[in-house]
Subunit: 331 residues, 4 copies
Amino acid sequence: MNVGIVGATGYTGLELVKMLVKHPRFQLAYIANSEGDTTINELHPSLSGVCEDKVEKADVDAIAKHCELVFLALPHKTAMAYVKPLIAKGVKVVDLSADYRLPLDIYEEFYCPHTDVENLSHVVYGLPELFRQELKSAKLVANPGCFPTSAILGLLPFMSKRVADTPIIIDAKTGVSGAGKKLSEVTHFVNVNDNLFAYNPLMHRHAPEIANKLGVDFEMVNFVPHLVPVTRGMLSSIYITVEGDFDAEALLREHYKNDAHVRVSSKPVDMKNVAGTNFCDIYVQKKGNLLFIASAIDNLMRGASSQAVVNANLMMGLDETMGIPDIAYVP
Amino acid sequence: MNVGIVGATGYTGLELVKMLVKHPRFQLAYIANSEGDTTINELHPSLSGVCEDKVEKADVDAIAKHCELVFLALPHKTAMAYVKPLIAKGVKVVDLSADYRLPLDIYEEFYCPHTDVENLSHVVYGLPELFRQELKSAKLVANPGCFPTSAILGLLPFMSKRVADTPIIIDAKTGVSGAGKKLSEVTHFVNVNDNLFAYNPLMHRHAPEIANKLGVDFEMVNFVPHLVPVTRGMLSSIYITVEGDFDAEALLREHYKNDAHVRVSSKPVDMKNVAGTNFCDIYVQKKGNLLFIASAIDNLMRGASSQAVVNANLMMGLDETMGIPDIAYVP
Amino acid sequence: MNVGIVGATGYTGLELVKMLVKHPRFQLAYIANSEGDTTINELHPSLSGVCEDKVEKADVDAIAKHCELVFLALPHKTAMAYVKPLIAKGVKVVDLSADYRLPLDIYEEFYCPHTDVENLSHVVYGLPELFRQELKSAKLVANPGCFPTSAILGLLPFMSKRVADTPIIIDAKTGVSGAGKKLSEVTHFVNVNDNLFAYNPLMHRHAPEIANKLGVDFEMVNFVPHLVPVTRGMLSSIYITVEGDFDAEALLREHYKNDAHVRVSSKPVDMKNVAGTNFCDIYVQKKGNLLFIASAIDNLMRGASSQAVVNANLMMGLDETMGIPDIAYVP
Amino acid sequence: MNVGIVGATGYTGLELVKMLVKHPRFQLAYIANSEGDTTINELHPSLSGVCEDKVEKADVDAIAKHCELVFLALPHKTAMAYVKPLIAKGVKVVDLSADYRLPLDIYEEFYCPHTDVENLSHVVYGLPELFRQELKSAKLVANPGCFPTSAILGLLPFMSKRVADTPIIIDAKTGVSGAGKKLSEVTHFVNVNDNLFAYNPLMHRHAPEIANKLGVDFEMVNFVPHLVPVTRGMLSSIYITVEGDFDAEALLREHYKNDAHVRVSSKPVDMKNVAGTNFCDIYVQKKGNLLFIASAIDNLMRGASSQAVVNANLMMGLDETMGIPDIAYVP
C-alpha cells in the first residue's frame, strides 16, 4: 500500500519517515515539503544511509497519483487547503494539524474561518481508544493534539465517577520538541536549560479540544502547560473530585484491558519509559474524594506521528500495532 | 557577631558558607560536620582561595564557646539532639531540619518521637512574611521546608477568598539538589536527564507542614511533588477555588507590598530568575472561580539557607536583607 | 537460533534485550543476572508489555542447555569464569567485558591475573572493520570497548599517513551511561549537569587497547576521556601529524566504502545522529600536516551491545546488518 | 567613579550590570543599547527589584557626559565606531569586542577593514596576567576573547618548555551562552540537548588571537571548539610536546603564585567550580614529552565581563579584585 508524507521538514515529519521506512505493509511512495528540491537525509542527516529519498514540492495531483493514503504534517490553518482536493480525489488523509479536530464554531473561535466545512461532517477523531470502530471506515482522520491525547486517556476511565461541576485540573509538562523546529525565545537552550515555567496558563487552545472530546463544559477544564528542559516527552498531572468508594487502579486496568497501547502502572509513570513509543502509561492515586492521575506519552509519537500511523493502520484494515515502535529510548 | 554552621558537608551547608563569608556583620567563627578533620574547601573545592577554614567535628561546647548563633544544617531527627543543649547554653539556633516545624502530635506521626518537647513550646516558624515580629525575639527558629515555603507564600494572599472545603492542589516541581548529596536511584544522572516524574504523590510529608501553617484541614491539602532535570529551583503550581469578584494580581501586590523578598510578576514566573537568591516570585491568573498561582523559589536559598540567614538577621536585630543575595544565576 | 544474555541488569544488558526481542533470526531463549528470581520488565520497566521474560540466576549448565550463543554483559574480571566452561561445552560467546581484549601481559598489567589463558589464544577482537573474516569462524569474540571502537575506527584509514613517533592525541567525550548504573559521585545529577571535566587523563586503561589494536607503541597514545552531561553518546576528537599531500576525506570514504556501519560526513559529526544505532560517523579535516578526525558513536550500541549483535550475526553466518538498529534517536 | 555600559541587551551586558550594581567604587551612571527606551529589568527580568535603571539609546555625547569609563559590549566590527570618538573625548574604554585585539593586518584578514588605526597603536590587551603594568595606565583596553583567555592562561607557563615547531592542540568545549542571545540552529534546545559537536574545526577566528599573544606561528595553533549542552562554562584541553625533565605542576604554581584569579588544581578542573566567578582553574599532567593542560573558566565572566571589570579596576587605580565575584554557582 502506497502512502505519502506532506510536511517532511519538521519533527513529526521525521518521525513519520522513521516508522514508514520500516513498516511491513506501507510503502513510502511520496515525500514532500513546501519547497521540495531536496532529499530526506539532507533535511534530517540522521537518515543518511537509511533513507535518501527525494523530497518534492507538495502537489495535490502528485499525491493522488502516488498514494492511497497521505499523512499531512502541516501547520494549523494550512492543512485544510490540501484536505479538500485530496478527499475529492479519493485519497485517504490523516491530518496531524488541528484543522479538523473541533466542531466548526469552536474551531473558528480559536483558530480562523474554516474553508472545508463539508469534510468536517464525516471526519473521525483519531483516538483509537475512543473511536476504533469509526476509524476503520474513515476517509479523513483528525489526529489528536499531544496535550489532549495525554489528558483524555488519563481522564476517560474516571469521568463517570467525577462530581459534576467540579473543576478538572490538568497540570501538563512538555518537552521542547513540542514547540517545533522554529527558532524562538522559548526554544533557545539558555532560556530552557535549568529552567521551568508555565505558558498560556488557563488559556491554551488545547483546552477546548479536551473539553469537547470529554463532553464537558469548557469552563470546567483548567489546563496549564509547562515547558521543561527535556527534548521529548509529556506528562499530564490531572486532579479531579470523585464520589463513591472504588478501587481506582482496578477501574483503570479494566477500562484499558483491550488496548495494546495503554499501560497501567502501579508506580508513578515517567517520560522516559514511553519515549520513542506509542504507549500511554497511566498511574492513579486516590486520597479521599480527590483523584490524582499521571498520564505519560511521547509528545511526538503518541502525541502525533505514531498515533497517526496507528490510525492509518486502522483505516487500511491492518492490525493497529503493525509497525508501531514499542521499544523505548531508555536509557 | 560570631556565628557557626553545623552540617557543612551538604548543599545547604555550602550555601550558608557562601553567604556568611560575605556577610557585613556576621563572622563565620565555627564550621563543623559529623567527622571533622578537614577544611571547607576540601569539602567544596569551589571555595578554594575564597574560604579555607577548618571544619571541626561537631561539639556543643565548642559551638557555645565560639558562637552567639548557630545554623544547624543537619538531617531530620538528628538536629534536636543539638538544639536542646545549645538553647540551654544560651546559643541562638536556626534549625534547617524539620524537627521543630510541626506541633508535637503531627511531628511524631510523620517522623519519630520528639526528645525536646520543651523547646517546641517557644520555637518560631521562620517564614518572615508570617512571623516577622516573633522572629525578632526568637531564640530558636524552625526554618521552613522548601515545598512549604513556596506553597504557603503563594497561597497566603488568597486564603480569605477560598471556598471552604474545596481542595487545595499543589503540583510542585523541584530540582535535584533538593534530594541532597546522597547517592540514590533518583539522583543518578541517567534516571533524571530527559525525564520527569511525580514521587510520593498525595503522601509527601511536607503536606502536613503546609496545612498546619495555613490553618486548614490536612485532608484539604493535595500535594504532589515532581522531580525535574534541573539542579536548583522549585516551582509550585497551585490551584484553588475562590468566590467573589476581585483582581487577583492587585490583591497579591497589596499583600506583599512591604516584603522585600517577594516579587509579584504579571508574566508566568520561572525557576532561573530566582536561582541563587532569596526571592519568591509569584504569578496569579483567575479563570471563573479557579485561581492558578505559580510560586517560584530557589530550593536551596529561599527554600533553606538564605531564608535561614534572613531569620538570623531578624534574631540579631539586623535588617533582614543584610547580606542576602539578590543577583540571580542568569543566564 | 537460540541465544542468551548473562548480565541483564545493566544498560548494555537492556540494549541487548531490546535488539534480540526484535531480531529476525535469533530467539532470546535465556536471560540471567547474578541473583535471578525476577523478570526483565521488573528490572527495566520500559519493557512492560513488550518482553516480560523470566530472569534466571546465571548458571553455566542452563546456558549450555538453552543457547547456541550467549552474550556476556558482565563486569571486567568476572566474565572469564563463565567463558572457560561455556567454550568447553561448545557454546559460542560474545564477551562484552575487557577480559579477552588484550594480550596476556598487557591484560595482567592493567587488570588482574588471567584465569583462562587457553581461550585467549583463539579469541577474535570484535571489530568487524578489522576482523570480519576471522569473526565468521570465531567461537569466542572479545567485544571492543567503547572508547577504542570510536578511536580505532577514526584512526584506521590514516595510520599509513602518520609520521612515525609523533603523538596520537585522542580527546574523547562520553555520556554518563558509560559509567553504568552504579551510583557514584560522577553519576550524581548535580555533579554532571551543567558541568564537564576530564578524568584519568593520560592514564585510562582503554589506551593500551587502542595502541595494541593499531599496532603502535603505547607511549604514543595520549588518551584523555571527558564526562559530559549527556545520557548516551561518544565523540572522539583525534589529532595526528601526517605527511604527504592527500585528500583526507576521499581516503576516508575509500577506506570504508564497503562497511555498512560507518558513515563518512563532510560536516562535523555529532552524538545525536548516531544515538540508538550501530553507526560510526566520521569527519576529517586537514590543516597543513595536522589531521583532525571526529568519530561519533553511541557508547551503548556501537560501543557495546549493537556491535555485539553484529558479531553474533557474523559468527552465526547471518548478514551483519540483520536486526541492527539504524534509525537514530533524533530528535 | 561613574561608569557606563553600552550594549546592555546581551548576556555580557547583563553580567556587567550584575557586577557594577554591587561594586564598591564604581557607580553605574549610564546604560544603553541600540534602541533605548526601556529599563534594564525589562530586558533582564531577574533584575526586577534590584536594578530598574533606564536604558538609553547609545549616544557618544551622553556617554562622555556621564562616564569616566565605559564598557562596550557590542558586536565585532561595530564597537570601533564608538571607540574613536570616546577616546577623543577623554573617556576610558574597555572594549569587549574583537575590534582592538589583533594587529591591523591580522584583524583585516579575519574581520573587515579597520576604521580606527590610530587607537590600535596604544591599545592594551586586557589579560592582567600578561599586561598588568600596562593596564594601569591604559586608556583603551581590548578585552580578550573567551577561548583565547582560557587557552593562553593554560599555555603561558609552559611555552619555554615547548619543542619548537611542534603543534599546539587546543580542544575547547564551550557552553551555549557563548553563542549569545541570538536565535540560531545551534542554540535551539533540541539541537544541543543530549548532543555535542565540533564547529569550525581548525578554522575558528580565535586561533590567530591565541597565536599572536603567545608569539607563535599561526600555523602551529590547532584550535577546535566544541559546543556542549551547558549554559555557561568553558574548558580548554590543551596538548603540547615539551622537552626536559621538570615538575609541571610546580612550574604552574610558581608561574601564578602572585595572581589572585588563577587557581592551580592537583585534580582535573571542571566548569562548575568557576561558574559565576573570574577564576581560571588550571590542571596539568605530564606523560613523557607530552603535556596535557586543562584550563577552565566561565565564558561570560573571565571570558568576558568580569575580566572587563578587573581591567577597569586596574585602569582606575583600584585593587584588581575589587567587586569581582569569587563565589561560584555551585551546586
